[in-house]
C-alpha cells in the first residue's frame, strides 16, 4: 500500500516482501536476544558461581540469624564522636587534607565484631573502631579497624568459605569442629593468621585497645610519590585491667564511664611497607621493623547509643577515600565496599529495633 506515497530520497526503498521478511525479523530477534543475554551475563544471572555482594550478606545472615534493622556484622555497637588533629608528619606520605593539621571532626562507632546485636560483650573477643573523618574541604575518609593484628582470610571467596565452615549447628549453637578443621587444613594462611591473632595480647577495654586497619592502601603525597601503607589507632590511655563483668554490656558501660571522666586519645600510626612486603594479603603481618609514623591524634569526647547517635545509618565503606589515599592491590576494600552497600540496602529498608546499648549523648567531663 505504501507505493502510492511520495518517496523522497531519504524515505528508503519501501517494504521488504516475501521470505526475506522472515530472515530479517529473525536477525532483529537475534540482536535483541544477544543484547539481553549479554546483560544477563554481566549481571551474573548466568554465573551462579560468581560471588556477589548478595551471597556474602546471605552467608552472614545464615550464620547469625535474622536481625532486621541491624548491621549484618559488627551488629552491637555505640556511636562515638570527636576530632582528629594531624601533627604534620602525615603530609610527607599523603596529600590528604586530614593530615595537614587542622581540627577535623570525626564521627564513628565502636562495636563487637559479632553478627548478632544481642550478644553479651564477654562473648566477643574481637572489637572494631570505625571512623568518618570529615574535613572542612569535604574530602571525606572512612575506615574500619579491628583489635586483631591480621585478618583471618585472604579474599572474599575465602571469607565466604570461612563463614560456611564457622556456621553454627542448630543442635549445639557451635560450628562443626570437623568443618572448621577441614577449612583450616585447606587454608594454611588462615590457620597461621588465627595463631597470630591468638598470640596477640588481648585488650582489656575499648579505650585501651589498639585498632588495626588490616588492609593495605596507597598513600600519595603532593609530589606524587606513592607508598603502600597500613594504619592503626594506638591508645594513649594505658591499662591492662579487665573492667568488672558488671553485665552483658560491661565493655560499653566501661567505655561510657571512661568518657564521662574525660576524653580518650589514640595516635594514628601509619606503617609503611617495605619494597618486598606483600600488600595483597591481610593474613600476613609486615615485619616489626618497618617505618611507623605517628601522624596525629584522635580525641573521642562523646559517646551515644545508636538509636539517637549519628553512626547507625552509614556504612564505613573503605573506598570512601580522600585525594591522597588510594586502594592498593589488597582485594578487601572493594569486597567490603560492595558487601557493605548490600547490607545497607537491606537494613535501611527495615524497621529499626532498639540497640542493646541504651545511652543518650555523654560528653567528656560531664559528671562522673
Amino acid at each position: 500500500m505504501s507505493h502510492h506515497l511520495p518517496h523522497g530520497p531519504q524515505d528508503g526503498p519501501g517494504p521488504v516482501r516475501g521470505p526475506a521478511v522472515v530472515v530479517r525479523l529473525a536477525a532483529i530477534g537475534a540482536v535483541v536476544l544477544i543484547a539481553a543475554g549479554g546483560f544477563a551475563y554481566t549481571g551474573g544471572w548466568l554465573s551462579p558461581g560468581r560471588l556477589s555482594p548478595d551471597r556474602v550478606v546471605d552467608a552472614l545472615e545464615a550464620n547469625n540469624g535474622q536481625h532486621p534493622g541491624f548491621r549484618r556484622n559488627h551488629a552491637k555497637g555505640i556511636c562515638i564522636a570527636g576530632t582528629f588533629k594531624g601533627n604534620g608528619a602525615g603530609s610527607a606520605l599523603s596529600k590528604a587534607s586530614v593530615f595537614a593539621g587542622a581540627d577535623v571532626p570525626v564521627i564513628g562507632r565502636l562495636a563487637l565484631a559479632a553478627g548478632r546485636p544481642d550478644v553479651p560483650d564477654a562473648s566477643s573477643p574481637v572489637w572494631s573502631m570505625a571512623l568518618r573523618f570529615l574535613p572542612a574541604a569535604g574530602d571525606e575518609w572512612r575506615t574500619g579497624m579491628n583489635n586483631i593484628p591480621v585478618f583471618p582470610v585472604r579474599d572474599a571467596e575465602e571469607f565466604a568459605g570461612f563463614l560456611v565452615a564457622m556456621r553454627p549447628e542448630p543442635a549445639t549453637g557451635k560450628p562443626d569442629p570437623a568443618a572448621v578443621q577441614a577449612f583450616l587444613a585447606a587454608h594454611p594462611a588462615t590457620a597461621a593468621a588465627l595463631q597470630t591473632i591468638k598470640a596477640a595480647p588481648p585488650a582489656a577495654s575499648f579505650a585501651t585497645a589498639t585498632y588495626n586497619g588490616l588492609n593495605a592502601f596507597r598513600f600519595v603525597n603532593a609530589e606524587g610519590e606513592a607508598a603502600a601503607v597500613r594504619w592503626s589507632m594506638v591508645p594513649e590511655q594505658a591499662g591492662t585491667e579487665q573492667p568488672a563483668l558488671s553485665g552483658p554490656n560491661y565493655l560499653f558501660d566501661e567505655l561510657i564511664g571512661a568518657v564521662r571522666q574525660g576524653p580518650l586519645h589514640w595516635q594514628l600510626v601509619v606503617t609503611v611497607a617495605g619494597p618486598a612486603d606483600v600488600t595483597a594479603d591481610p593474613t600476613v603481618a609486615w615485619p616489626a621493623d618497618r617505618q611507623r609514623v605517628a601522624v596525629g591524634t584522635l580525641t573521642i569526647d562523646t559517646v551515644e547509643g545508636e538509636d539517637t547517635g549519628s553512626c547507625r545509618d552509614v556504612t564505613f565503606d573503605p573506598l570512601v577515600l580522600p585525594a591522597g589515599i588510594e586502594p592498593a592491590d589488597d582485594p578487601f576494600p572493594a569486597a567490603r565496599s560492595a558487601a557493605y552497600a548490600e547490607g545497607l540496602r537491606r537494613r535501611d529498608g527495615e524497621v529499626k529495633q532498639p540497640s542493646a546499648v541504651q545511652v543518650s549523648a555523654v560528653r567528656a567531663g560531664e559528671g562522673g
Partner: protein
C-alpha cells in the same frame, strides 16, 4: 525541509547511546561482584551518570527547539502512539536515573565523588528509608531503561530492515 534529525541531534543520540549502554552494563555488573573490578566500575559509574544527566538536559533543550521529522503517514496509529510514548519514557529515564542515583547517595549520607577530590553536594537529606526506596527504584528503573532500549532498537531495525521507510536513516549516523 529534510527528513533527517539535525546533525547535533544525531551526534547526541549516538554519543548517548554508547554512554547509556555502557552505563547500564557497568551498573548491572558492579552490583554482581565483590572483586576489585567493583572499585573500577563504581569509579566510572558515578561521573558517567552525571555526564549522561548533563547531556540529557542539553539534548532535551535541543529537541524542544528542533522538532524531529514526522513519522511516515502510513504508520498505524497504535505504532505512532507507542513510538511517542517510548520516546517520552527514554527521555524521562535518561534524566531520572542519574538523579535517583545522586539522590540515593545523598540519602545514605555518602559522598558524591566524581573523581578524587571533586564532589557534588547532596540533593536530599540523609534518611535510611528514603535510601532503601531510591536504591530499589534505581535498579527497577535501570531494568526498565534497558528493556525500553531493546524495544527501541528492535523498532528501529524494523524500520531500517523491514519497512525501509526512511525512519532509521533519519537518525543514522
Amino acid at each position: 525541509m529534510s527528513g533527517h534529525f539535525t546533525g547535533t541531534a544525531r551526534l547526541l543520540h549516538w554519543l548517548m547511546a554508547v554512554l547509556i549502554l555502557t552505563m547500564l552494563f557497568i551498573g548491572v555488573g558492579m552490583v554482581s561482584t565483590v572483586s576489585t573490578r567493583y572499585q573500577l566500575l563504581v569509579g566510572i559509574h558515578r561521573p558517567l551518570g552525571i555526564a549522561i544527566l548533563v547531556l540529557a538536559l542539553i539534548r532535551l533543550g535541543w529537541r524542544l527547539g528542533h522538532p524531529p521529522p514526522p513519522l511516515p503517514a502510513d504508520l498505524p496509529t497504535v505504532q505512532q502512539a507507542l513510538a511517542k510514548l517510548s520516546h517520552y519514557l527514554l527521555y524521562l529515564l535518561m534524566l531520572v536515573l542519574p538523579l535517583v542515583g545522586w539522590g540515593m547517595l545523598s540519602a545514605q549520607d555518602y559522598p558524591v565523588q566524581l573523581w578524587p577530590g571533586v564532589h557534588l553536594p547532596p540533593i536530599l537529606p540523609a534518611s535510611p528509608m528514603l535510601y532503601a526506596t531510591l536504591r530499589s527504584a534505581h535498579t527497577v528503573l535501570a531494568y526498565l531503561f534497558f528493556a525500553t532500549i531493546l524495544a527501541h532498537v528492535a523498532a528501529a531495525l524494523m524500520h531500517g530492515l523491514v519497512r525501509r521507510d526512511g525512519v532509521f536513516s533519519s537518525m543514522a549516523p
